[in-house]
């Protein structure tokens, strides 16, 4: 209990420096006792988003792999490097590319800062996706965490948006045509497609207004929004009492849960993980340069032109499905399914160990193998059939039928899991999610590595 005596003025008059210091930090900066440590967590603005005490069992690195904290670290690095890049960058079609070239050539460490920004952005997408999977695999979306799953999905959307808007800014061939293709997809949304596309481009075609629009979103609107929603996300984790307990939820725990103080037990571990990540990013940025193609040329599309890698899966869908399905039906269904995960009825709710149980692990592995293999086979079969086919894709043959086939296959797979492995709802939902994720991942791999000139299937080594 805090005592009244804490704040009573000392007997001897204080010097100015000491009084100012105490007005900024009314509490000890380096806490020494357990009580002081808890106060530090509560009183400092940034720290108060964290729980005061956490379960000792959640501290193990392999329980979370520090993916949430890694995301925060990467975002912080990007804010820092992004602020530096803003000083050098000129957001007009005439100057954008030249200003990036000049930055890399003339500014001390200009290229390194750009590399760090670039690699952070790409690693962030991977880490955020891994974080999503970790939460899914440990069942961290039940009870008080339900809505935080939705917030997390919103953060994923913001990260992708921030990444995509940044992709255009160098104004090289890569950027120009990737954005042309991605905004071109919007044109297939029924009724409002044309308008939507014009809004995304800030005009009828990609030009100065597109660049200003993307620049404003990338440097101001999205980072501010991202920061606010991240705060909400962390605060909700605190309200749920830290991350999910890794011990199985159903069984009675062998001993009473053991709590430890967040400071230093959790924060020191997080600091170590963050520093390791910063080191990895810096080494990567020093060794591998961020790509910069030739200056954008609206008259010549490179062959092949691809979307940024995290959207290549959608681009791959374009090659197999009617545009209405590839652009609207499938993505909307995927997003709705993603948001629905915490709101399904689970009997029982399972959480804690990775993949929920041994059975859950087997089902998930089976789902990943089946999804990836089936997708690879279907892509090749469809690619070879396409070669001999002419005419525009039909809504039934290239939309309804394959979609129905997919649903039937998934339903069959779920039945199989229940009948053969005796999987329960939580494990079946997990396996279904893994199946869909594997399909998407395989589409991405095919699009990134196995599509050559004219988007024909090709080996990556030529």
């Amino acid at each position: 209990m805090p005592q009244r005596g804490d704040h009573s003025p000392p007997l001897a008059p204080e010097g100015l420096v000491r009084r100012v210091w105490r007005s900024v930090f009314p509490h000890p900066v380096l806490p020494r006792s357990e009580r002081e440590r808890r106060r530090t967590i509560l009183e400092f603005f940034v720290l108060h988003l964290r729980p005061v005490r956490v379960l000792r069992s959640t501290l193990r690195y392999t329980h979370t792999f520090g993916l949430g904290g890694s995301s925060l670290t990467l975002v912080a690095l990007m804010v820092g490097t992004g602020a530096l890049l803003m000083l050098a960058y000129e957001p007009t079609p005439d100057r954008a590319y030249l200003s990036v070239v000049a930055l890399e050539r003339d500014t001390l460490f200009g290229g390194l800062v750009r590399n760090i920004h670039h690699w952070c952005a790409n690693i962030l997408v991977v880490v955020v996706l891994a974080h999503l999977l970790r939460v899914l695999f440990t069942g961290g979306f039940h009870g008080p965490r339900q809505f935080n799953w939705v917030i997390g999905c919103g953060l994923l959307g913001l990260v992708l948006a921030a990444n995509f808007t940044g992709y255009l800014l160098p104004w090289d061939q890569l950027a120009y045509w990737a954005v042309t293709i991605c905004t071109g997809m919007l044109g297939y949304v029924p009724w409002i497609g044309g308008w939507l596309q014009a809004v995304a481009r800030g005009g009828p075609e990609i030009g100065a207004s597109t660049l200003v629009l993307f620049y404003a979103f990338h440097t101001t609107l999205l980072p501010v929004l991202l920061g606010l929603v991240m705060g909400l996300h962390f605060w909700r984790v605190r309200k749920a009492g830290g991350v999910v307990d890794p011990r199985p939820s159903g069984e009675p725990p062998e001993s009473e849960p053991q709590h430890v103080s967040t400071l230093p037990e959790l924060l020191l571990r997080e600091l170590a993980a963050a520093l390791a990540l910063v080191a990895v990013v810096c080494v990567l940025a020093a060794l591998v340069d961020a790509p910069l193609g030739a200056a954008a040329n609206p008259g010549m599309s490179p062959n092949p032109s691809k979307a940024p890698w995290y959207f290549v899966g959608f681009q791959e869908l374009q090659l197999h499905f009617h545009p209405l399905f590839a652009v609207v039906v499938i993505p909307v269904a995927a997003v709705l399914a993603l948001l629905a995960v915490p709101y399904l009825r689970y009997e029982p709710e399972m959480s804690g160990p990775w993949f929920l149980s041994a059975r859950g692990r087997r089902s998930a592995a089976l789902a990943a193998a089946a999804g990836a293999a089936a997708t690879a086979v279907l892509v090749v079969v469809d690619g070879l059939l396409l070669q001999s086919r002419a005419g525009t894709p039909g809504l039934i043959g290239r939309g309804l039928l394959p979609a129905a086939g997919f649903l039937v296959a998934v339903t069959g797979f779920r039945r199989l899991l229940a009948a053969r492995l005796g999987a329960v709802k939580a494990e079946i939902v997990q396996a279904t999610f893994v199946l869909c994720f594997a399909v998407w991942a395989m589409l991405t791999v095919v699009g990134v590595f196995f599509r050559g000139p004219g988007m024909a299937l090709a080996w990556p080594w030529g």
Binding site: W177, T180, I181, T183, G184, M185, G187, W195, A198, V199, R201, G202, G203, P204, E205, G207, S209, P298, G299, M300, S301, P302, N303, P304, S305, Q318, L319, P323, L386, R389, A390, G391, T392, P393, P453, G454, M455, A456
Partner: protein
């Protein structure tokens, strides 16, 4: 008693009024934001219709396709002597389609859509023929009316201009 009823109904009326006014203010703010997101017209020269002078009829051999990079279109002269001005943007996702003279067709580098010299779709995934611009021939000079490209579901002879 009646006073307190009056009091409470006045209160609820004022409360509702606040709600309505707040709603109006919110709607105005949304309206302003939406207005700022409306696509702007290009400040360039193609805002209004501009006439692009391609050249004398004789310059274009029948059965050839001539690119005009600065006008962003291709001028096709059909074997029968008719002219068609084709927008160079693929109707699938907007990549620029190059004319592959050796194969006698346009092939999109992005998703392999292909079109014949009239803009007709030869291979998917393009959903419709290449857009076109109106062509005029005055004093045996070919002129192309550049503005918004014209979308078409089918390639028809009525789109062709003959000298």
């Amino acid at each position: 008693m009646s006073e307190s009823i009056q009091e409470s109904s006045r209160r609820s009326f004022l409360g509702r009024l606040w709600l309505v006014l707040g709603g109006v203010a919110l709607a105005e703010a949304v309206w302003i934001v939406v207005a700022f997101f409306q696509p702007r017209r290009r400040s360039g020269a193609r805002d209004a219709e501009t006439i692009y002078v391609a050249g004398p009829v004789e310059r274009f051999e029948p059965g050839t396709v001539t690119p005009f990079p600065d006008g962003r279109f291709y001028l096709t002269r059909l074997a029968d002597g008719g002219f068609l001005a084709l927008n160079r943007e693929c109707t699938h996702l907007g990549c620029t389609v190059p004319w592959v003279a050796a194969e006698g067709r346009f092939v999109c580098p992005c998703h392999a859509s292909s079109f014949d010299m009239r803009g007709e779709v030869l291979g998917p995934p393009a959903p419709r023929p290449l857009d076109h611009f109106p062509v005029r021939i005055e004093n045996r000079i070919v002129k192309v009316v550049l503005g918004s490209p014209i979308r078409r579901r089918v390639v028809a002879d009525s789109q062709v201009t003959r000298a």
